[in-house]
């Protein structure tokens, strides 16, 4: 308990917290009074205090209060639906997925408008990174659902002979999905697809930092899906806290490491398994023997074309050799102009920074004394439009803010090393990132990178592309998260794999039962060895 308390407390004290959840200060005062409260309510209060400490008080007057009581009623209703068995049938799952697909097809324009309102996301990005991704994931789930639901045969061994075994996937129950603001549609609906495919009841809590999408999701999911099993709860910290106090069968959280710790600590109270999709500083290592024209494009598209760097898989910084850095920088600059024009601040093809807090945080990284002299491209920031130009920083010191916080925005530091192999060591000296990228034609370097760099995923010679493949598990390791999803992995994430063993009453081996004798011990050893001769000898009483 102390461990937890310390963890939360140190988080509260650290002032570099980025507030992902805006605040109403309703619960703030109770924090100090409740230090002796149960472990969970302590965490919840701490969570609130943590957020409140950011002084991000939003003066919203919610029309209805969603408190623990409301959350508990909600979950009771959903559990009732789950227990009725309705969500377990193939028909229900596929009908919900079909409705979801229809919802996406009917609401293209509303979705793009919401994304534009929340993030100025260009329609093209909205389409390829959000709408198309979930349509795809919905379609592939529909296509494969029957296969996924089929029990998997398992081999049995001599020790259990004669028997047959299978692994039966079953839904976990009532699950909670807490989503993020940067891909407010994708990161909300994609996990929900997995939860539905696996036959669960779901509560989705979209991010309040993308309010247009949050209310659109509440409206659309309410209209298209079965409301007795799938609900959207909109809101910020108090609502999230109320939800976290409940007993869930799984919590799927996308966001940052600080809130993730609070989520997991709350989950521990009920032994609820969690999937945590976090981020981290994803590096790109750029070798010199490469096709620069293609590399430049892929990096620029991967950094600034992915929601302007506000993607969990967006590259955070580049590592390259001292000699190669100038050439690479030229290529990046060239492609930046080609993609976003001479005046990127006014380019319609670039998203803005998601939130005033994040703008302030990025500005702080730029204004850091150790960094401001190292900006070699861009650097403009306009507070009113919340836009920051694509910015390249060369050789920011290792102890600067920008080299220690996840950037999550349009700033790209370049770290130079003597030998390209030193880059691997640099990456390994830091927390494990969600993604690690390498551009090279050197086979040996590829092998070394793949086997020595630990990251959620690795892409060679491209950026962010692994996210689009539903045959690859998507998820972090270490500080970048736990658990994975996409395609079948989503289904598995929301399923329990029940081991089932069938036996008949024939073929009973007395060796298993008392009274125990030395002969039984010999037979048992032979059985474990799988040695047929040994079994026969033991059965006939030879040693």
């Amino acid at each position: 308990m102390e461990v937890l308390y310390d963890a939360c407390w140190s988080m509260i004290k650290s002032k570099d917290v980025i507030c992902d959840l805006s605040i109403t200060h309703r619960h703030h005062r109770s924090f100090s009074l409740q230090t002796h409260a149960s472990i969970c309510s302590l965490q919840i209060e701490l969570a609130i205090a943590l957020m409140a400490s950011e002084e991000q008080l939003k003066n919203s007057t919610a029309p209805e209060v969603f408190d623990a009581e409301a959350a508990s009623c909600l979950i009771k209703e959903l559990r009732g639906t789950f227990v009725s068995g309705k969500t377990k049938s193939y028909e229900w799952r596929s009908s919900q997925l079909k409705s979801l697909l229809k919802m996406l097809e009917d609401s293209d324009k509303q979705i793009c408008d919401a994304l534009f309102s929340d993030l100025s996301k260009p329609e093209m990005e909205a389409y390829i990174h959000e709408i198309a991704m979930i349509k795809n994931s919905c379609k592939s789930a529909l296509k494969q659902l029957k296969d996924w639901m089929k029990p998997e045969k398992a081999k049995t061994n001599l020790g259990t002979f004669p028997s047959s075994a299978e692994i039966v996937p079953e839904p976990l129950g009532v699950v909670l999905v807490i989503s993020a603001w940067n891909y407010p549609l994708l990161l909300s609906v994609d996990p929900v697809i997995g939860a539905i495919a696996a036959g669960n009841s779901v509560v989705l809590k979209p991010s309040e930092l993308a309010p247009a999408m949050s209310s659109l999701l509440a409206k659309l999911l309410g209209k298209y899906l079965d409301n007795s099993a799938i609900k959207v709860v909109e809101g910020a910290v108090p609502e999230t806290s109320a939800l976290l106090e409940q007993k869930w069968d799984k919590i799927f959280y996308t966001g940052n490491g600080r809130v993730a710790r609070i989520v997991m600590a709350a989950a521990a109270k009920n032994l609820t398994p969690v999937v945590l999709e976090l981020g981290g500083k994803s590096p790109i290592l750029v070798d010199s023997n490469i096709d620069l024209a293609v590399t430049g494009k892929r990096i620029v598209a991967g950094k600034w074309g992915l929601n302007n760097g506000q993607a969990c898989v967006a590259p955070d910084y580049i590592i390259t050799t001292k000699q190669y850095a100038p050439v690479l920088i030229e290529s990046l600059k060239h492609n930046l102009v080609k993609f976003f024009g001479e005046d990127p601040m006014n380019s319609p093809d670039m998203s803005r920074v998601g939130h005033a807090n994040h703008f302030a945080r990025l500005k702080r990284q730029l204004d850091d004394d150790k960094v401001s002299g190292k900006i070699i491209h861009g650097g403009q920031a306009d507070k009113s439009s919340q836009k920051i130009a694509p910015t390249i920083v060369l050789d920011a010191p290792e102890d600067s803010l920008i080299m220690n916080e996840e950037i999550f925005g349009p700033l790209l530091p370049i770290v130079t090393v003597e030998k390209i192999e030193d880059g691997i060591e640099f990456i390994n000296s830091r927390p494990k990132p969600l993604a690690a990228y390498l551009f090279t034609n050197n086979k040996q370097l590829k092998e070394e990178f793949v086997s020595n760099v630990s990251a959620g995923g690795i892409v060679i010679n491209d950026v962010g592309l692994h996210l689009m493949l539903d045959t690859l598990p998507f998820g972090g390791v270490g500080d970048s998260g736990m658990g994975s999803y996409h395609g079948k992995f989503s289904f598995d994430s929301f399923s329990h794999k029940k081991a089932v063993l069938y036996r008949g009453f024939l073929g009973d081996a007395p060796v298993r039962y008392p009274p125990y004798t030395p002969g039984k011990l010999r037979l048992l050893k032979a059985l474990v060895d799988g040695s047929l001769l040994g079994i026969i000898r033991a059965l006939f009483g030879f040693s």
Binding site: Y127, I128, G173, A265, A267, S347, G456, P515, V528
Partner: protein
Amino acid sequence: MNDHMEMMRRSVEELRLTFKSGKTRGVDWRKTQLRGILRLIHENEDTLFNLLQSELGKHPVESYRDEIGVVKKSADHALSCIDKWISPKKGRLPLAFFPASGRVLSEPLGLVLIIGSWNFPISLILDPLIGAISAGNTVVLKPSELSPQCASFLANMLPTYLDPKAVMVIEGGPEVCNQLLQYKWDKIFFTGSTKVGKIVMAAAAKNLTPVTLELGGKSPAIFDSLPYSDLKVAAKRVASGKWGACAGQACIGIDYMLVEHKFASTLIEQLKKTIKRFYGDDVKTLKNHSRIINKAHFDRLRSLLEDPAVAKCIVYGGSFDDTSLIIEPTILLNPPLDAEIMNEEIFGPLLPIITMDNIEESIEFINSKPKPLALYAFTKNETFKKQILAETSSGSVTFNDTMIQFLCDDLPFGGVGQSGIGRYHGKYSFDTFSHEKAVLERSFYFELEPRHPPWNNTKLEFLRSVYDYDYVGVLLILLGFKRPSKSSDKKD
């Protein structure tokens, strides 16, 4: 004490350095360690038999079946499969990514902590260790302080059989355990109670450490009416699932039984006969039956029967021997459902039998309680089997037998809900201690321009076709034959 803790911290840090050195990643290293485990149990078989006999009263056959044999089987299996396990799996790719290759690579997590339990003090430490080593991790093992002889055996012997720079045993009680939980691990694998499981997970949350929690719960056995020939076999299996494995002190042991009123007396008679044959009927001369781990647990079990409403339900057994800490196999018929014995995990040789009008009611009964680790059902009714599978939730379901699901390497072993998080055994052990890294490799040829800004309608249309797997459309657009459709015209 502080010095001791400091030393412990330092030696744990050394294991992290070993991991960084990359030594544990080599498949040869892993195989050597697995062989070391096999040598350890082979060369010390008699010592282990003695230790288990002295700490838990386990008969050597039982010890071999539940501990040594289990470890041997797992290590053999891992040795024969490890090459297959570590080879990358291919991921299928859509044409749009051509030319590219995708694969999933299993990599070790790093430094892991395994906390064992006293009821199977050898196998619940070494079995997960086999997974952790197969996956290439460095490992700290914390055996239970409630089986101190086995714990010191492991602490003394493991370093001579396994790489001491990569596998370490730390002995100690709750204080040491608390200290260990404050360190940053890459995985914590815990076997034990629900209560401690929650503490472990809460501590892990601090460092975002993934956990596997192997807990227990009240595992039910549904007993449908069976003809006599089958009943004979079934009763043996129930006896071995209840009393045969460490006197009921097993996470997958039967906790209680559900049977129809009309069949209860037949079942009880058969169980009595089986008990007498297997173990004898005098608590002083009981054979082939383990004892209770310590006085505290012995007293806890006795107190379950002290409730007069419960005591009057005893239909067989009920004797306790304080000196040997042995409790006779005990059967209770219909104890009150609100009594402690029907609400707490029993973890001992007491077997409540609950009767009902119709065996199908058992499903509702089970569903009114937290999800158990194991569910057993003795029935020949195929429809009922299907119903049980579809309508109940548990870590595993075994039809017409007990405990043996534990031996099946191909079946995941682990709980759901209150009975735990995560799974192991066979390949699942390897996966539990691995990170599945997605690796996508692209070449520099064939760059699709529509992926990149500046955006226009042709690019949007192109991407729509790609996502729809409409390859004809893709080709037409690339060749300039197809124009963007009206629907995608820019709104503004």
